[in-house]
């Protein structure tokens, strides 16, 4: 089993479009959308949902006014400023789910019910199975939901004896990103040749190094600034990230999105289509992608 995680640091560089294109080239794989905050891969893959499950991401404190004696201990103990007085109540948006108030309330006046923070799905797509999710609005624990969808993708790989998980990662370098890269074979960072793109690539590259995950880099919209694209390539090589190619700007990326297709399905022989295929081949040739990981 191998897993490739597509990341970017900066959002909107083309992670999802590239993931969908790779799904086309791969003979046997499971798709995993780890951008549970703002999932988009389903818009290209049109998944047919086979299983739907609630995601119970944690607990939330609720004060029972009938039992509360207004001693104020909970408010004093809560480090997240989630409890207010007159009457004592918990702000669900601020509650961290630590349970300290629940455990220490002398009156047993605080309940701590499990809460449903989202949904996750196992679906069929035209290229194979897909595990995806939707985190509830304003919910926490996106990291835990990312870990869950990746775990479910692993189960499917084992069941179907497939070989590869393609994981569409979230932007940034925080909690959900860290949850999406542990135990992966490698990450592919999709950069863009702008000052922001260069800054964010550096941070996500450092993150991959921190967790000792081999990193590859490609540049999308490379012709927007050829000099900066060349600089990204140099920086990648200096940092031992394998540079796997660059994709010219192509309006067809948007057109494909509108048609709910991957760029390969609408323009396989276009410059961008050819560039994406080359990147896919280079990625799969990377030594890290030859290593079998235990499921």
């Amino acid at each position: 089993m191998k897993e490739l995680v597509i990341l970017s640091g900066k959002g909107g560089t083309g992670k999802t479009s590239l993931t969908a294109a790779f799904a086309f080239f791969s003979k046997s794989m499971v798709l995993c959308d780890a951008d549970v905050d703002a999932a988009d891969l389903h818009l290209l893959m049109e998944p047919e949902v086979k299983e739907k499950h609630d995601f119970q991401g944690g607990n939330e404190a609720v004060i029972n006014p009938d039992k509360c004696t207004e001693c104020g201990l909970c408010m004093e103990l809560c480090r997240f400023g989630a409890i207010s007085e007159d009457p004592y109540k918990v702000d669900p948006m601020e509650c961290e789910g630590c349970g300290v108030c629940y455990d220490l309330c002398p009156e047993g006046a605080i309940d701590f019910p499990l809460k449903t923070c989202g949904e996750w799905y196992i679906s069929d797509t035209r290229y194979g199975p897909m595990v995806h999710a939707r985190l509830g609005i304003a919910e926490e624990n996106s990291g835990r939901l990312v870990a869950l969808v990746r775990e479910e993708a692993r189960k499917i790989v084992q069941r179907d004896k497939t070989d590869l998980i393609l994981t569409d990662g979230p932007p940034g370098i925080g909690c959900p990103v860290i949850a999406s890269i542990s135990r992966a074979n490698a990450v592919l960072v999709v950069a863009e040749p702008s000052v922001s793109g260069v800054h964010d690539l550096k941070r996500v590259g450092e993150l991959a190094e921190h967790f000792k995950i081999p990193a590859m880099v490609c540049v999308n919209k490379c012709d927007l600034d050829p000099d900066r694209t060349a600089a990204i390539r140099e920086a990648a090589e200096e940092n031992n990230y394998t540079y796997v190619g660059e994709i010219p700007f192509d309006k067809n990326f948007i057109e494909s999105m509108i048609q709910k297709k991957s760029i390969i399905e609408t323009g396989r022989d276009s410059d961008a289509g050819v560039a994406v295929k080359k990147i896919w081949e280079n990625v799969m040739e990377h030594p890290a992608m030859k290593i079998e990981r235990l499921v």
Partner: protein, 284 residues
């Protein structure tokens, strides 16, 4: 007045709008970059930083001489950050949410706390614009405390522009909470629309006034406009899909500076925000 610039989807132009709005206002304005995982506003405003302060959170330290291995700390911790073995206690600082439960519950008073650095905040100026940004340390997961700390520096009587992270979960909520107005930046594509829908839901859940900026207008289709109309959310500005604008952005430039008519457009945008905000037209 606090204006949060958010989006759902990443890369739609939050930073472009935040920095150009700040530049167009020019004075009595503070930019607060709360995208602490990947802060980019500084690349466009080139602030001079004068101060840097760490953002810390406490983590437990166990005194082995007092610990009786009763496991109460492990039981209260919902984050798996403490494991009590037969004669050893192991802590996992990166999993700790700093709730302090272990310290309070320990019957032997064997737990104290030491600071862990989550990231830092830098403060400075870009011309007459006050500037603040946060950085999450590589490998740390707790970005909301940094965002909340930045928000405490909002200045009364100033326009505080908050550049939010992408998404709709806890860090975004921390960057939008209590704002007088949320400006949602999107692009007219299916991905842009899908994530805008989530962002509008989040804003409505929080009961905040909001409006939409369509960036790269003309690149996709009209679905975002149709959605905005249906939801009753006003489209306040459109920035066209234009190679020159893309080039100015790519090089770290400001369109309001390089293409002067945009300064007027951002000022018009600000006037409309004032009218729609929870503070009303008298806000300054």
């Amino acid at each position: 007045m606090n204006i949060s610039i958010a989006s759902g989807k990443g890369g739609t132009g939050k930073t472009t709008v935040a920095t150009n709005l700040a530049f167009s206002l020019g004075k009595n304005v503070q930019l607060m970059d709360c995208d602490v995982e990947e802060p980019n506003s500084h690349l466009f405003l080139n602030p001079v930083f004068r101060e840097k302060e760490p953002v810390i959170a406490p983590i437990p330290v166990i005194d082995d001489t007092k610990c009786t291995y009763c496991k109460k700390c492990m039981e209260i911790c919902r984050f798996g950050a403490i494991a009590v073995l037969s004669e050893k206690v192991v802590t996992f600082p990166e999993l700790c949410h700093s709730c302090g439960g272990c310290k309070v519950i320990c019957p032997e008073e064997a737990i104290s706390e030491s600071p862990r650095e989550l990231g830092y905040i830098e403060t400075g100026e870009a011309g007459n614009i006050s500037f603040l940004q946060g950085y999450l340390t590589i490998g740390q997961v707790m970005s909301p405390p940094i965002i909340k700390k930045i928000r405490t520096y909002a200045k009364e009587g100033m326009v505080n522009i908050i550049d939010a992270p992408p998404g709709t979960s806890c860090p975004v909520i921390a960057a939008m909470k209590g704002a007088d107005f949320v400006l949602l930046v999107t692009e007219p594509t299916p991905f842009g629309l899908n994530d805008l829908t989530l962002a509008v839901e989040a804003v409505k859940t929080m009961n905040l006034p909001c409006g939409i900026v369509i960036n790269r207008a003309g690149m996709g289709n009209d679905d975002v406009k149709k959605y905005a109309e249906k939801e009753g959310v006003e489209v306040l500005m459109e920035i066209p899909f234009d190679r020159e604008i893309a080039r100015v952005y790519a090089n770290g430039g400001l369109i309001a500076e390089k293409i002067p008519e945009y300064r007027e457009k951002f000022l018009t945008l600000f006037d409309r925000i004032k009218e729609l905000s929870s503070i009303g037209v008298n806000a300054e």
